[in-house]
């Protein structure tokens, strides 16, 4: 639970809010590259952390990211026209280059404005099929973290998804870091029993039971032991389940990794960014690398996509289209036919639960339990970081190097106390430790 004031601090991201200021210190995946498919194509309006922007691509393919409203008289540049060398406001013809240079001011012949002013633009980079923007102070601009999917061939990307949902980003983020709901809410899709297929192509088995050499793997334990640990760039939690592999009792470990402020990695090849468009709207961006995608035919790919995203009919212009009046997409008929949730697709299941909480959940009424430990820790870390930033302390971030070592595969654990070294050895340099581990060093978990 949080107090109402803590909840406000956590969830409000508009200009001038402490959480908004924190989020603006990080590179934000604002768009998919495919949202700006053509050089000198149509500009796109972008809502991000409670502000409106416009993104566009010039004739050379360079991306510009501007305040939405023309610096001259405030007309929206979302209705402007892209030329090869710049974006032209339709009101008075002012033309801007991607770097903010004012190229033309047809209704003002002197050069003063062009020479002395620049349009309000923001640093932008394109990598991994995404367009990243930095909205914070220029002197605090960090390097863009280099995620594994930046270098992954397109054929090996199984999913590159984005969907917009009408709820606060924390509701979706708390869902993606919370592994303990997965085999309950998603039991239709993920299930508790995994049977190895002869061709080894079982998507379900790959995602849930990597490293398990068994014909049948069952994980019926819905109350795993949980251990949370701070990392310099976020936090991770080890979840250890009782399970059986061909009837033999085994320990099955999974790690959920949270990277400040809104990235979740439940495997080294799975990236979920919950990007706040504003306090009540979030874009869920998911990228899943799977080399098996290369060998999938169109039908298998479509099936895998539908399993994750749900049917295309769930979306309208990228927005999940079901609201309260449609029970957020739940179909009771499907439930009577055997579906657990009445919603099809893992992400729609996550999101329909998040949406059902309302636009901004009041966390003062919650009854948390220890299984929610990572949710509790992530809230604390975000609140602390927002508070620290107000006091002049900058958040710690991942460096620009190759980050292929972040995240870990779910797997069997010979020794459940060694979940860190077995599942996420790459996190070792980033461990912060905590007071308890220091105080109880002799009994603290072994690395």
């Amino acid at each position: 639970m949080l107090t109402k004031l803590e909840n406000e601090l956590l969830t409000r991201v508009g200009p001038g809010t402490p959480m908004g200021e924190l989020v603006r210190r990080f590179w934000i995946p604002a768009l998919s590259s495919t949202d700006l498919p053509d050089p000198a194509g149509d500009p796109v309006r972008v809502r991000l952390v409670g502000e409106n922007f416009v993104a566009w691509r010039d004739g050379h393919g360079r991306v510009g990211f501007f305040d939405e409203y023309c610096m001259h008289r405030g007309a929206s540049l979302a209705v402007a026209k892209c030329h090869d060398d710049g974006l032209v406001c339709l009101y008075h013809g002012w033309k801007f280059a991607t770097d903010g240079t004012i190229l033309e001011t047809p209704n003002y012949k002197r050069s003063t404005v062009r020479d002395k002013l620049r349009a309000p633009v923001f640093p932008v980079q394109e990598a991994g099929g995404l367009i990243w923007v930095y909205l914070g102070p220029l002197d605090k601009q960090p390097p863009l973290p280099h995620w594994r999917f930046f270098d992954t061939p397109e054929d090996d990307i199984l999913h590159h998804y984005s969907g917009r949902f009408d709820c606060n980003f924390m509701q979706l983020l708390e869902g993606t870091i919370d592994i303990s709901h997965a085999q309950i809410l998603h039991q239709d899709h993920l299930g508790r029993t995994n049977i190895k297929r002869a061709n080894g192509s079982n998507f379900q088995s790959r995602s849930l039971t990597r490293g398990v050499d068994a014909e049948e793997f069952v994980c019926a334990d819905d109350a795993p032991s949980v251990e949370v640990e701070d990392l310099t760039f976020g936090a991770h939690a080890g979840f250890v389940h009782e399970a059986t592999a061909d009837g033999r009792p085994v320990k099955y470990g999974r790690v959920s990794t949270w990277v400040m402020p809104f990235l979740t990695m439940n495997a080294p090849t799975t990236f979920v960014f919950n990007v706040p468009n504003d306090d009540q709207t979030t874009t869920f961006r998911s990228i899943v690398i799977d080399p098996a995608a290369r060998t999938m035919d169109a039908e298998a790919r479509a099936l895998a996509n539908e399993k994750l995203y749900g049917p295309e009919s769930y979306y309208e212009n990228g927005r999940y289209r079901f609201g309260e009046a449609e029970a957020w997409g739940q179909d009771r008929t499907r439930m009577r036919e055997g579906s657990f949730t009445g919603v099809h697709g893992v992400i729609p299941e996550d999101s329909f639960v998040a949406l059902s909480m309302g636009p901004v959940l009041d966390r003062s009424h919650e009854h948390l339990v220890p299984a929610d430990a990572l949710v509790i820790r992530v809230r604390r870390r975000l609140l602390q970081a927002a508070r620290d930033l107000q006091a002049g302390v900058e958040p710690q971030m991942l460096g620009p190097g190759d980050l292929g070592h972040i995240g870990g595969w779910p797997q069997l654990l010979p020794d459940p106390n060694r979940w860190r070294s077995e599942i996420v050895p790459g996190h070792e340099p980033y461990r912060r430790g905590n007071t308890l581990a220091a105080e109880g060093a002799e009994e603290a978990s072994t690395w």
Binding site: M1, L2, T3, K4, L5, E6, E8, L9, L10, R12, T17, P18, S225, V226, E227, V228, S364, H365, H367, L368, V369, P370, D372, A373, I376, R377, R379, R380, L383, Q384, A386, R387, Q390, N434, L436, G440, E443
Partner: protein, 78 residues
């Protein structure tokens, strides 16, 4: 309006959760949690409607005790 930067309850819940999980790993039973009167009041205030209905004041599934000897920021399990 300047946002409140007081995160006492968020920190207390996290500290208690960490202690409970640690106790669980060591097979040590937990009976209740003790917090400072200030933290107790903040939690009770958030749960006022529920308390009026007669519910117990629980945090993380355990009864909460207001304890003068506990400093704010140093909640503990017992």
């Amino acid at each position: 309006m300047r946002a409140s930067l007081d995160i006492t309850v968020a920190e207390a819940i996290d500290d208690l959760c960490t202690q409970i999980l640690e106790a669980d790993r060591r097979a040590r039973p937990v009976e209740r949690v003790r917090v400072s009167p200030r933290t107790y009041d903040m939690v009770a205030d958030a749960r006022r409607a529920e308390l009026i209905r007669g519910n117990a004041l629980l945090v993380l599934g355990y009864e909460v005790i207001s304890d003068d000897s506990v400093q704010t920021g140093q909640p503990r399990i017992e």
